[in-house]
C-alpha cells in the first residue's frame, strides 16, 4: 500500500475526492440520528477517502461528536447506512469494527499501567504474548513514551495522557482512527507542537484520520478537508483554503475567521464581474463565477486582511471607502483596526506591523481611506 507521500508524487495532482473513480473509504449515506425529538445528525451524506486527515468542525451541539460516535459504533443511526471499506457496518457493534477512537477525556483505564492500557486492545484480539509485547514496544517508541510504561494514568501529565491514549488507539493498527477533540485538553503551546506531530504521524502510518474539533485553527492546520457542521448538517465540505477563501454561505464565512459583510442587491452582471449596490453609498465591484440575475439580494464577504490602506482616494475609485479609526487592537505581529465608514458600519482591517508600533501612521479618530480588490472576496447568496 502506498503512503500518501508516494501517492502524491506518483499520481497526477488529482486528490481522491476530485477523482470520480476513487472509491470512498468511509461512505455515509443519508444518515439521521435522533435523540428523542432532537435531530443530532440530519439526513447527512459524506464520503471520506483513504489517507485523508478529515475534520468535522462546528460549535458545540452541531452533531459532529454524534457523527463520530456513529462511525465508532457507539451510537446506531435512526435512518441511513454507513459503509467502511465497502462493508455495511450500520448495525455492527463497536467491538467488531475496524475502527479505533481516541476519546476526548482520553478514557485511560485508571487501574492499569500505561503498558497494560496499550496492550488491552491486542489482548482482545488474542495475539500471542510475544507479538503483543513487540507491538506495545513499537507504539511506546513511536510516541516517545517508553519511559512511562509502568506508570498509572493518574501519575501522568495531560500531554503524556494524550500520547498514551493515541498509542492505545493506534496499537491495533486500525485503518481508520477517530479522534474526538484530540488536542482539546492541552495548553496552547503543547497544542501547536502536537498538531504537527499528529499530521506527521498520520502521513507516516497512512491511516485515515477523522477528527472532531471546535477549534478552527486546529482544523485549518491539520486537515486535508474540513466539513463545517451546523444543526446536524454539513454547511460546506472542502479543503481548508477553499473554505477560508471561498465560503459558500454566510454561516461558513462568519464561522471561520473574521469577515466584513456588506448586504446589497446585484445591479449589473457582466461575465464574471458583478456590481452590488449597498448602503455604503457606492457600488461594490466583485468577481463572481456564479450567474447572478439583476436584483438578487446578496452579501459581499471580505476578510479583514484583504483590506488595505488606500494610497490614492478617488470619488470613482473601485471599492474605496472613507472612514474614521474607532478601535485598534495591537496583537504584536498584526494590528486589527475597526473603521467606521459612511453609513455607520464598522469595517475590520488587519495590517501587518511592518514598522514598530510606536512609529505607526494610524491612530484613533484618524480619517482614513481603505480599499480592496474585486478578486479578494466572495459574493454570497445565502
Amino acid at each position: 500500500m502506498a503512503t500518501i507521500a508516494e501517492r502524491r508524487l506518483s499520481a497526477p495532482r488529482l486528490e481522491p475526492w476530485q477523482d470520480p473513480k476513487a472509491a470512498p473509504y468511509v461512505h455515509i449515506e443519508r444518515v439521521t440520528k435522533k435523540f428523542g425529538d432532537v435531530y443530532a445528525v440530519d439526513d447527512l451524506s459524506l464520503d471520506i477517502f483513504q489517507g485523508e486527515f478529515f475534520s468535522l468542525l462546528g460549535s458545540s451541539g452541531c452533531g459532529k461528536s454524534t457523527l463520530l460516535r456513529l462511525l465508532a459504533g457507539l451510537e446506531y443511526p435512526s435512518a441511513g447506512r454507513i459503509f467502511i471499506d465497502g462493508v455495511d457496518v450500520t448495525n455492527v457493534p463497536p467491538y467488531s469494527r475496524p475502527v479505533n477512537m481516541m476519546f476526548q477525556s482520553y478514557a485511560l483505564f485508571p487501574h492499569m499501567s500505561v503498558e497494560q492500557n496499550v496492550e488491552f486492545g491486542l489482548k482482545q484480539d488474542r495475539l500471542p504474548r510475544r507479538e503483543r509485547a513487540e507491538r506495545v514496544g513499537e507504539m511506546l517508541d513511536l510516541l516517545k513514551i517508553s519511559e512511562l510504561r509502568r506508570r498509572r494514568p493518574e501519575q501522568l501529565s495531560g500531554g503524556q495522557r494524550q500520547r498514551v491514549a493515541l498509542a492505545r488507539s493506534l496499537a491495533k493498527h486500525p485503518k481508520l482512527l477517530l479522534l474526538d477533540e484530540p488536542l482539546g485538553a492541552l495548553d496552547k503551546r503543547l497544542r501547536e507542537n502536537t498538531q504537527f506531530e499528529l499530521v506527521n504521524l498520520q502521513e507516516r502510518l497512512g491511516i485515515t484520520f477523522v477528527t472532531v474539533t471546535h477549534d478552527q485553527e486546529e482544523a485549518m492546520t491539520m486537515s486535508t478537508r474540513i466539513a463545517i457542521m451546523d444543526a446536524g448538517q454539513i454547511m460546506q465540505l472542502d479543503t481548508p483554503t477553499a473554505i477560508y477563501e471561498f465560503p459558500s454561505c454566510r454561516f461558513v464565512a462568519e464561522f471561520i475567521g473574521s469577515v466584513n459583510l456588506f448586504e446589497g442587491k446585484i445591479v449589473s452582471s457582466d461575465g464574471d464581474r458583478v456590481v452590488v449596490d449597498t448602503r455604503l453609498g457606492r457600488p461594490i465591484h466583485m468577481r463572481s463565477f456564479l450567474p447572478h440575475p439583476i436584483g438578487t439580494p446578496v452579501t459581499v464577504a471580505v476578510r479583514p486582511e484583504k483590506m488595505r490602506l488606500c494610497q490614492e482616494f478617488r470619488e470613482d475609485g473601485v471599492n474605496q471607502l472613507k472612514g474614521t479609526v474607532e478601535d485598534i487592537a495591537y496583537l504584536g505581529d498584526v494590528s486589527i483596526y475597526r473603521i467606521r465608514v459612511g453609513d455607520g458600519q464598522l469595517v475590520e482591517m488587519t495590517l501587518t506591523n511592518i514598522q514598530p508600533r510606536t512609529e505607526q501612521a494610524l491612530t484613533w479618530e484618524q480619517e482614513v481611506a481603505i480599499e480592496w480588490s474585486p478578486t479578494s472576496g466572495v459574493v454570497l447568496t445565502e
Binding site: P94, Y95, F109, F120
Partner: protein, 272 residues
C-alpha cells in the same frame, strides 16, 4: 507554635466521651469479678471462661455470622445487578416502579417488613411447602430483601460517577460487553462492592426486629439472645462477648485501613 483552644478541646473531649464511654464501660465490666454489672469488685477473666461454655450464646453468634455472610454476599450480587440496570440500561419499561420498590425498604419501618415477610413465608409454606418452617433460610431471605436496597444505593452512586467513556473505549478496542464488565467496570467499582458487602453484613448482624418475626424455634440470632437475656438481667457474659466483637471489628478496621494506605505507596514506587 499551635495555639491551644481550651473550649474547642473540651468539645472534642465531650464528643469522644459521648461516643466511646459506653463502649469502654462495657469492656471494663467484662473483666469484673462480680455478677452485678454495676458494681466493681475486682479483675477477672471469669466471664470469658463461662462464655466459652455457654452453648446457647455461642450458637446464636455463629448463626448470626453465617446469616450475615450469606446475606452480604447475595445482597452484594443482587444489589450490583440492580444498580447496573438503573445506571446502564436507559429508560426501560417499568424503571420508575423498579426504582421505587428498591428504595422502599430504606424507608419502610422494620416492623412492617418483618410482619409482611412472616405472612408471606407462612402463606408460601401452606401453598408450595417451601420454606419448610422458619429459621436460617427465612432470616437470610428477609435480610437480603432490605440490605440489597442499601447495596444498590452504594454501588449505583459509584457507577454513576464512573466515566462511561471508559467502557466505550474498552468496547472500541474490541472487548465484548462481558469482558468490558469483568475487566473494566468491576475492578473500578470494587471498592463500592466491598463497602456494600460490609454494610449488608453489619445490617444483618445487628437486626433484631425483622429477625424476630421470621425466625423459628431453634434459630435464635445473637441480637435476639442478647435482648432476651437483658430482660431477665444482664449477665457479664454479654459484656465479654461484646468486648470480643469490638476487638474483632477494631482489628478488621485497622487492617483494612492499613492495606488501603499501603496501596498508593506501592503504586508510586513502581511508577518511579
Amino acid at each position: 507554635m499551635k495555639r491551644r483552644s481550651w473550649p474547642l478541646l473540651g468539645v472534642l473531649a465531650f464528643g469522644y466521651a459521648f461516643l466511646y464511654v459506653p463502649i469502654l464501660l462495657l469492656i471494663l465490666y467484662s473483666f469484673n469479678e462480680s455478677r452485678l454489672v454495676t458494681v466493681w469488685s475486682g479483675f477477672s477473666f471469669k466471664w470469658y471462661g463461662e462464655l466459652l461454655h455457654n452453648r446457647q450464646l455461642l450458637d446464636a453468634a455463629w448463626l448470626s455470622v453465617r446469616i450475615a455472610a450469606v446475606n452480604a454476599t447475595v445482597a452484594m450480587i443482587l444489589g450490583t445487578l440492580a444498580a447496573n440496570a438503573l445506571t446502564r440500561h436507559g429508560r426501560f419499561r417499568g424503571r420508575t416502579g423498579f426504582e421505587l420498590l428498591l428504595t422502599a425498604p430504606l424507608v419502610m419501618p422494620d416492623v412492617i417488613i418483618g410482619l409482611s415477610l412472616l405472612l408471606l413465608f407462612v402463606a408460601m409454606q401452606q401453598t408450595i411447602g417451601w420454606p419448610d418452617g422458619r429459621g436460617f433460610t427465612t432470616i437470610a431471605i428477609a435480610h437480603i430483601t432490605f440490605s440489597m436496597a442499601y447495596v444498590t444505593v452504594v454501588v449505583r452512586s459509584r457507577l454513576a460517577r464512573m466515566d462511561a467513556s471508559l467502557e466505550e473505549a474498552a468496547m472500541d478496542l474490541g472487548a465484548r460487553p462481558l469482558t468490558v464488565y469483568l475487566r473494566i467496570t468491576l475492578p473500578l467499582i470494587a471498592p463500592a462492592l466491598l463497602s456494600g458487602w460490609l454494610l449488608a453484613f453489619t445490617l444483618s448482624l445487628d437486626d433484631l426486629v425483622i429477625a424476630s418475626f421470621v425466625s423459628g424455634p431453634g434459630s435464635t440470632t445473637l441480637p435476639m439472645v442478647v435482648y432476651s437475656s437483658v430482660r431477665m438481667g444482664v449477665s457479664p457474659q454479654i459484656n465479654a462477648l461484646a468486648t470480643l466483637i469490638v476487638a474483632i471489628v477494631a482489628l478488621a478496621v485497622i487492617v483494612a485501613g492499613w492495606t488501603m494506605r499501603q496501596k498508593p505507596d506501592r503504586a508510586q514506587k513502581r511508577g518511579a
